[in-house]
Symmetry: C2
Subunit: 145 residues, 2 copies
Amino acid sequence: MARNCRFAVAVHVSTVLAMNRERPATSDWIASSVNTNAVVVRRILSALSKAGLVKSQRGIAGGSVLAREPEAISLLDLHRAVDELEPPPTHNQTPNAACPVGAHIVPVLIDIISRAEQAKEAELAKISVADVVTQIRARAAVAAE
Amino acid sequence: MARNCRFAVAVHVSTVLAMNRERPATSDWIASSVNTNAVVVRRILSALSKAGLVKSQRGIAGGSVLAREPEAISLLDLHRAVDELEPPPTHNQTPNAACPVGAHIVPVLIDIISRAEQAKEAELAKISVADVVTQIRARAAVAAE
DNA sequence: GCAAATGTAACAGTAACAATTACCGTTACC
DNA sequence: GGTAACGGTAATTGTTACTGTTACATTTGC
């Protein structure tokens, strides 16, 4: 299966937009940086637009721009925008209720997995698109030496 | 696709083993609690066995038992045993190196995703199989009122 | 030997995903 | 008004990961 790279593409797209704020970027142009199809980029942009993170303009001379300052967009915002909330991955079949474990484990598991997922999200919330731009610029500067 | 429920099954299996330590549990019996096929359970048990978390015995009167005290098995142990370490989900195609973002974003993304994943694992490390047993027993006691 | 158990390979069915094609709606410019 | 350059989206395809299942070899105790 093609791996889920929506979050990675969302970060990439947002970073490109953050580093090119003087004019709207076209999906074709962004796609050439990501090295994928323009429709894939437009799907991501569509999700980001619905979340209010970018603004897109149709028509000639159209394109997309960030809707907020890069400092005000966290990677958690991006994650939530492109990976819709899915239920915690527990049993596919409901367990045997006649067994004490089967009868009660699902809510316990949901609680545990949710807590772990929140820890992950808290980490993503600490990082902004501006931080990513800073890191990219630092690496580019090192590479240019 | 059938969702990945290996971690959930691993927790379920380990909890059943922790609550029935007087005799080895057969995969058939565990499967009836999980409500799945015995082979699915044996696949999980095989992974747990390779990680040294359970011991299985072939032949008549065989079955599986925990290899350690339930207090000494964390959910992170289970997670690592059944969900082999996969690379962080970044781009499928390598991005365009001619673009500064494309040239440097992958290691930045890997760093970010790894850190977020570590936060999640740290949360799982806090919980032991014995804790799950305690929670199951508490819920069973409430349900019995 | 036989019965009961694990271990594992092989296969089918299913679902998720990226990538792609095609087409529609929108907008600026001539 | 026509046209070209855009975004938006539905539909399709190919691929992959996963569970669930069958089948069979292996092991073990009686």
